[in-house]
């Protein structure tokens, strides 16, 4: 019986929020009734009525007894007003007051507790977000702080709502560790599942202006992070299918899942971390010093990509159009392609053939300075165009060593193979190297079978926690060294591992020899400043690149077509060209002359680099007049034609 009562009590307390209050009222009723029994102990006797707190205004019966008892339960302080009353009455008053104290304490506790719960729930995302036009970040990882830093640098007053599986405290700690104020009033940090319709509805997804989905989880073992992203994409699409919702961009970690993600989100841009990192790292390995170009290109504050209608220059050749735009840099053409289902798809072709004849519905893609209006001078024409001569020689890597393993490794190996015009030998130096190489071979045979014949993979056991000697390999024989950010050890910071590998490499140099160019993947820009004096040639700060791209494409979705052209394997690539590559005679260097010569190699000049190494100055979309100040030792930055197959 007792067990049954206990169970009923447990059931009622856990399933009905109002039950504790009802229980309190019931106990109070029992205590008040008990106090009313003091009537039989002489509550309204002559002696008792002399006391200040006892009255018989309504005849000294039930109501006066009830009032006296209730007063003691609700106000235990009224006990003192019984001074002079009979002893029995005082005992009743004392018992009532003690129970009153307990019940009042319980009531206050219940109210405080429910208030605290309400506040906690509000913090965890249970409260409705009444905002419009806000930016929502779904999910949280190491790219989050960088994303916010870049967003705040835009000085935008938009409210930012972060919803993640991590606790708000964890998010705040990561913000603080990256030097961002955790008390920023623009920020609302909530805990919740981005895969729940109710939660998405509560944070006002359909009324928001922008949604950025970050992959939840910290890497290697968290294989389901992309699944959650795809799930969120489908749910957001289904919330209000007939209404144009917010601009959405999403991070996809694994290139293998990109295809499925594209099915889930046909209209929203997706940024694939492994493709972006692999492309940038491989391009930096092929063109040492290239990280600064990518940094400029992805910078949210410096350059604007714009579309300029071609109505006025219908029929003009692309080469001429490039020179018609006098204050910006033309990099391609874009148009809307009608699909079979009647919908439109934005197509962008970077650096098309110089003799591409523009149509009225084409748009020129230009890099422009922020806030500047593009000026088109329809009279300008490219000079001395004598057709295609010979394509510039492309840098080729034959032997590469990659330190550490992370989810980007298969895409990097694949990208290296795709960019190599001959046989390439890649050594994988990491923990459990043999297993990693076996898995890589499987991955490539499924995803990129044509590369398998132009590629040899060699494992080299290299474990920073155990065996890390480089004596058995000739590190100087490699064309390039790549060091990936290894997030597989929860207790070891990836950037610290990278720094340690660099120290080991520097130790090898002291024994004699010159290291090949080193490209490292870092997760924090702070590490880059710490490693300033190291042997690194290029550092790809993957968190910054990915977050920058997510922020750019969510604000301007057409940029996805540009970035996918720039970053797709075997697609358009950027390159450095020594100025004397363009047969410049004399000392007078003119932009239109340079560009006309570049067209003969199907290349488009987008900027220049002065100097080398850490002190190099990179300018994208410079003033055309600035080319006059270049020397023959300086390099041009060009978009070269796609490596056709």
């Amino acid at each position: 019986m007792l067990r049954k009562i206990r169970y009923l009590l447990f059931l009622s307390l856990t399933t009905r929020a109002v039950f504790p209050y009802l229980l309190l009222i019931f106990v109070m009723g029992v205590v008040v009734t008990f106090g009313m029994l003091s009537y039989f102990a002489g509550l309204f006797s002559e002696d008792a009525l002399r006391a200040e707190g006892i009255d018989n205004l309504l005849g000294g019966k039930v109501i006066d007894s009830f009032w006296w008892s209730l007063k003691h339960v609700l106000d235990p302080g009224s006990f003192s007003e019984n001074y002079g009353a009979p002893f029995e009455v005082i005992i009743f008053a004392l018992i009532n007051s003690i129970f009153g104290l307990v019940l009042t304490g319980g009531l206050i506790g219940l109210i405080v507790n429910s208030l605290q719960n309400a506040l906690e729930l509000a913090k965890l995302g249970a409260s409705n977000i009444v905002e419009e036009g806000h930016l929502i970040i779904l999910g949280w990882n190491r790219k989050g702080p960088s994303l916010l830093r870049q967003f705040f640098s835009l000085k935008n007053s938009q409210r930012v709502v972060i919803l993640s599986r991590s606790s708000p405290e964890e998010v705040k700690t990561s913000l603080k560790s990256e030097g961002l104020s955790k008390r920023n009033q623009q920020l609302l940090i909530l805990k919740g599942e981005a895969t729940s319709n109710a939660v998405l509805d509560r944070i006002g997804v359909s009324k928001s202006a922008h949604v950025i989905i970050l992959a939840e989880g910290l890497g290697h073992e968290d294989a389901f992070s992309d699944v959650n992203t795809i799930n969120s994409l489908m749910r957001i699409g289904g919330l209000q299918p007939n209404i144009k919702g917010p601009n959405i961009s999403a991070e996809i970690v694994d290139a293998e899942r990109l295809g499925i993600a594209k099915i889930a989100s046909t209209t929203h841009p997706l940024v694939c971390t492994s493709l972006l990192v692999s492309k940038t790292m491989v391009q930096c390995a092929r063109n040492p010093g290239y990280a600064s170009v990518y940094k400029k290109l992805f910078s949210i504050n410096e350059l604007d990509f714009e579309l300029v209608p071609c109505g006025k220059i219908d029929g003009a050749l692309f080469a001429d159009a490039c020179l018609m735009v006098s204050n910006a840099t033309v990099i391609g053409v874009s148009w809307d392609k009608k699909l079979e289902d009647g919908s439109l798809k934005r197509v962008t072709a970077l650096n098309p053939e110089p003799d591409y004849d523009l149509a009225g519905d084409d748009q020129l893609v230009v890099i422009n300075r922020r806030g500047s209006r593009v000026i088109v001078n329809t009279e300008a024409k490219a000079k001395n165009r004598s057709g295609l001569t010979e394509l510039s020689e492309r840098p080729n890597l034959n032997k590469v060593i990659i330190f550490s393993s992370n989810p980007n490794l298969p895409a990097i190996v694949s990208e290296l193979a795709l960019n190599s015009s001959s046989m390439i030998n890649i050594t994988i130096a990491c923990r459990k190297a043999e297993t990693v190489v076996d898995n890589l071979r499987d991955w490539i045979s499924i995803n990129n079978p044509t590369s398998i014949n132009s590629l040899t993979l060699e494992p080299f056991e290299f474990d920073l926690t155990q065996r890390w000697s480089l004596d058995e390999i000739d590190i100087f024989s490699y064309d390039s060294i790549l060091i990936l950010a290894d997030e597989s050890e929860a207790n070891v910071d990836a950037d610290s591992s990278t720094a340690l590998i660099l120290l080991i490499l520097e130790g090898v140099v002291k024994r004699g020899g010159t290291l090949p160019p080193i490209v490292v993947e870092l997760l924090s820009s702070k590490t880059r400043s710490v490693l300033k004096n190291s042997t690194i040639i290029d550092s790809v700060i993957s968190t910054e690149f990915v977050s920058s791209m997510l922020l750019q494409v969510v604000r301007n979705p057409f940029l996805e077509s540009i970035y996918s052209e720039l970053l797709s394997a075997g697609g358009i690539e950027m390159g450095f060209r020594q100025l004397d590559n363009f047969s410049i005679e004399g000392t007078h260097i003119c932009y239109s002359e340079l560009q006309s010569r570049a067209f003969e190699k199907n290349e488009l000049i987008i900027g220049y680099q002065i100097g080398d190494g850490e002190n190099a100055i990179v300018e994208l979309n410079p003033e055309k007049e600035a080319f006059k100040n270049l020397n023959l030792q300086d390099k041009l930055i060009v978009l070269s034609q796609q490596l056709y197959t």
């Binding site: 072709a349 053939e353 003799d355 004849d357 149509a359 796609q642 056709y644």
Partner: protein, 118 residues
């Protein structure tokens, strides 16, 4: 108006070339691999085929050889499109039976001359 069949697996190359040829007034059809190319040649009977060589499913060399072995399809001129740098591919394309070849990236005026010569 000449009917042209473009057999090309790269979406961007397809989009660019078909857009340019449409603007020049040609009737353009697309196939994305060698097998589909042969099928379209039978159904669409193009005046000229622009055949990429590095194709999935059935490569351009095989598709060209098979087309030239077919009594009906053999009459359709095939212009092989090969990468600019790969001279060996051009020779292979001619050996496979291609009537003409051109390089990618495409020089449109040169390609148009070749199309019009058939």
């Amino acid at each position: 108006m000449k009917k042209i069949l473009i057999v090309e697996d790269n979406e961007m190359n397809r989009d660019m070339l078909s857009r340019r040829l449409l603007r020049k007034g040609y009737d353009v059809k697309i196939a994305v691999d060698g097998e589909e190319g042969l099928k379209q040649m039978k159904e669409y009977s193009p005046d000229v085929v622009l055949m990429d060589m590095g194709l999935p499913v059935k490569d351009g060399w095989t598709a060209t050889t098979e087309a030239k072995a077919d009594p009906v399809l053999s009459k359709i001129p095939i212009i092989a499109l090969t990468a600019h740098a790969l001279e060996a591919d051009k020779i292979r394309a001619m050996e496979a039976g291609a009537d003409e070849f051109d390089t990618k990236p495409v020089n449109l005026s040169s390609l148009l001359e070749k199309i019009e010569s058939f």
